[in-house]
Amino acid sequence: MRIGLFVPCYVDAFEPEVGIATLELLERFGLDVHYPYDQTCCGQPMTNTGCHQEAAATEALFVKNFSGFDYVVAPSGSCVHQVREHLTAIPQTDAVRKVRETTFELVEFLHDVLKVEALPWARFPHKVAYHANCNALRGIDHARPSELNLPYFSKPLNLLKKVAGVELVNLARPDECCGFGGAFSVFEPAVSAKMGYDKVADQKRAGADYVVSADSSCLMHQKGCAERLGLPLKYIHIAQVLNGAAA
């Protein structure tokens, strides 16, 4: 299976080890993983600000980079949501549609496509609060959101439960947004930071040592908030935990 690895710009610049963990994890399953070297971004920064035309060339580059793979995999629910739902500034050719349909977020790829049953190399003996990124949760159906009266499921928690030693703790507001919201975090800084403070306080009260998420952007925001409040919480991407990070 030929996989195109998409490493979002945040991960590339700030959390390279998340990209490395994603690459190694996919390779553990015997996949033929390629990293298109000219990749930049999915176009989300522009699209989410309403500037679709400004995103068109970036979207075209994304499709050019990621055509020809069986699947495109990225460790970010937010970017995958963008590709799947909002990569629409360019004409929807067969190639564009194919890339959009075959782009998967790492957790759902492991859970739904590879149907991973065991992660024997992974051990993470810590109290973990899972942070559900909003786009992953409500945009690409990582789990049953708390608002809906539907049968419960959670793909990321199913995977984390296969990791030895993980002790999950429950948040009082399990899927409340942490306030990152892309450009929101800088254009509405007071509310964004307050949401972040409330989120990390909830994690602390729940007794978490680590916060695990499938999105680096939320983690970066929360880590910044926790540090500002002086809370000794640690933030780590789910790719690293699943890949056997000792933390």
């Binding site: 176009g43 500037c51 909002h86 786009n135 959101p145 009266n149 947004c177 800088v186 910044g224």
Partner: protein, 523 residues
């Protein structure tokens, strides 16, 4: 309740012995268990008894874009208010979840409600004709208003015909849209709001901050201050029972003396010409049943075809809004009482135009339950007045720009687009997707700041060219100095004011990959 169980208040100033003692946080049921029906909170949520000035709403400067972020920052600068507000509304959200999860067919009801609404809206002319014919056959006078000003003129005309000078009124978002109170004040007509929250807001000369809980941004201390100033209550008595009772006792004479009663409308039934109102206080029933003249203001999107469809909406409305299975009163007004006159004013005010907006017409499905506000993490931390518009919160973000695209151009950006609003919406409006769609419309019509659009243009140009992108983040020692320009797009470092900056890694993934995986030049 037997007479012995009543707690006559010992303090002075209490006008009725049925008022509970100040120590009694809330009503208990016949079974002794705490009650949390209607807007009641599931646990006491009391702001500390420390005077903190109430934060006021967004600054309104004509048509200039509302600075919601600025008003929200001021709201958060009043931590006692901010904490009580967030906790109170989150409590409503949790009550809503419990109510929704108590009904196995909840999601099916939402789907039915959505389908009934889209059906009605796509045949609105037919259902309005049917409604009008039924109402006229019932002896109701029917009026049509293109906009808020026409609505106000029509109501004034009805009042003048009857020599009426005073109105008791129950809560109506439509009349807020029309600027009804301000207009009538100018015409010398006295209006008394009879919903407690709305009355508080009227006495404080402030707009409602929430669709169903108009004064939810105020603490009891604020209310005590407003009532002391306007109703002459004891400024040091901030007991909610005392305050509510004072309002009841001072409003009752107005209800008895009013020349006319007005209500809004939750649902208008085409087949029977019925107007349905849902209240917890029974104030719509007082407005509709005491004065000789009754007027109901109806947004044309309130239509539903038949009585049997009410079953779907009534089961959803109060559970979504408050987590209460039904409002205390669900009232169906169909014909005038003997000797009284009944008028309907059907108001468009932009609704027919919105029907033609392909991406936004389904916002007309809204039944004004406020569930999207209660769940919205931004709204809960901003206060409804920060939006500077009739409709605050998620539903406001997608409705307000239809009233004034420039003034409300900023509102669709006051959202993280987390999507919780869409999931709680009882009529399945895709609220967060419409927020996303509004951003596109506003950018295309250049209703977003030039600075922002310019940044996006620059970011788009760099991100489309791998070499330029790598040069931009590779030339610096750390990506940090450059990357925020298009990753965080931040010219002013608002990030760092409130949060620590991320650590700069030794190298990017891109560089790592080149170093570790491209030695043989493959891939």
């Amino acid at each position: 309740m037997s007479a012995e169980e009543l707690h006559p208040r010992e303090r002075e100033g209490v006008v009725n012995p049925a008022v509970r003692a100040a120590t009694d946080e809330s009503e208990r049921g016949q079974d002794g268990r705490r009650l949390d029906h209607a807007e009641g909170s599931s646990k006491p949520i009391k702001a500390p008894p420390v005077r903190e000035p109430q934060p006021r709403g967004a600054k309104i400067r004509g048509d200039r874009p509302i600075d919601q972020a600025e008003a929200a920052e001021r709201f958060l600068a009043a931590p006692l208010h901010a904490a009580a507000h967030d906790e109170r509304l989150w409590d409503l959200r949790k009550k809503r979840d419990a109510a929704a999860f108590g009904i196995p067919e909840w999601e099916e009801l939402r789907e039915l409600a959505s389908q009934i609404k889209t059906h009605t809206l796509s045949h609105l002319d037919l259902y309005l004709e049917q409604f009008e014919a039924a109402a006229k056959a019932n002896g109701v006078h029917v009026h049509w208003a293109r906009d808020g000003a026409e609505h106000n003129r029509i109501v004034l005309g009805i009042l003048r015909d009857h020599g009426a000078r005073t109105i008791v009124k129950s809560k109506s978002m439509l009349t807020e849209e029309c600027g009804f109170r301000h207009f009538m004040a100018g015409e010398g007509i006295e209006i008394i709001e009879t919903d407690l929250g709305e009355r508080i807001q009227q006495l404080d000369d402030e707009e409602p901050s929430h669709i169903v809980a108009p004064a939810v941004h105020k603490t009891r201390l604020d209310v005590a201050e407003v009532f002391a100033r306007t109703l002459g209550t004891d400024p040091d008595n901030d007991d909610a029972h005392y305050l509510a009772e004072s309002q009841r006792e001072t409003t009752r004479p107005h209800i008895l003396a009013a020349d006319a009663g007005m209500t809004g409308c939750n649902f208008a039934i085409a087949e029977t010409g019925t107007v349905v109102t849902c209240t917890n206080e029974g104030n719509a029933d007082l407005s509709g049943n005491v004065p000789k003249l009754q007027i109901h203001s109806i947004g044309i999107e309130k239509l539903i075809p038949r009585i049997e469809h009410l079953g779907v909406f009534i089961r959803l409305l109060s559970r979504s809004a408050l987590g209460s299975p039904i409002t205390q009163y669900t009232s169906h007004f169909r014909k005038p009482r003997t000797g009284s006159e009944m008028h309907y004013v059907l108001v468009d005010n932009g609704r027919a135009a919105r029907l033609g907006m392909e991406e936004f017409w389904t916002s007309l499905k809204c039944i004004r339950c406020g569930a999207c506000m209660n769940t919205c993490p931004v709204y809960r931390r901003s206060g409804g007045l920060s939006y500077g518009a009739t409709y605050a919160g998620p539903i406001g973000l997608i409705i307000d720009p239809t009233f004034n695209k420039r003034k409300y151009s900023t509102l669709p950006f006051s959202s993280t687009m987390n999507g919780s609003c869409t999931n709680v919406c009882p009529v399945k409006i895709n609220i967060h997707e419409q927020i996303f769609a509004w951003r596109k419309v506003l950018a295309e019509e250049h209703q977003i700041p030039l600075l922002k659009q310019g940044m996006m243009k620059a970011a788009g140009a760099v991100l489309a060219r791998p070499a330029a992108y790598r040069a931009a983040i590779g030339a610096a020692d750390s990506a940090l100095k450059v990357l925020p320009r298009f990753a965080v797009y931040n010219p002013l470092n608002t990030w760092g004011k409130k949060r620590e900056m991320p650590d700069a890694p030794r190298q990017s993934f891109h560089a790592w990959y080149k170093e570790n995986r491209m030695k043989d030049g493959s891939k």
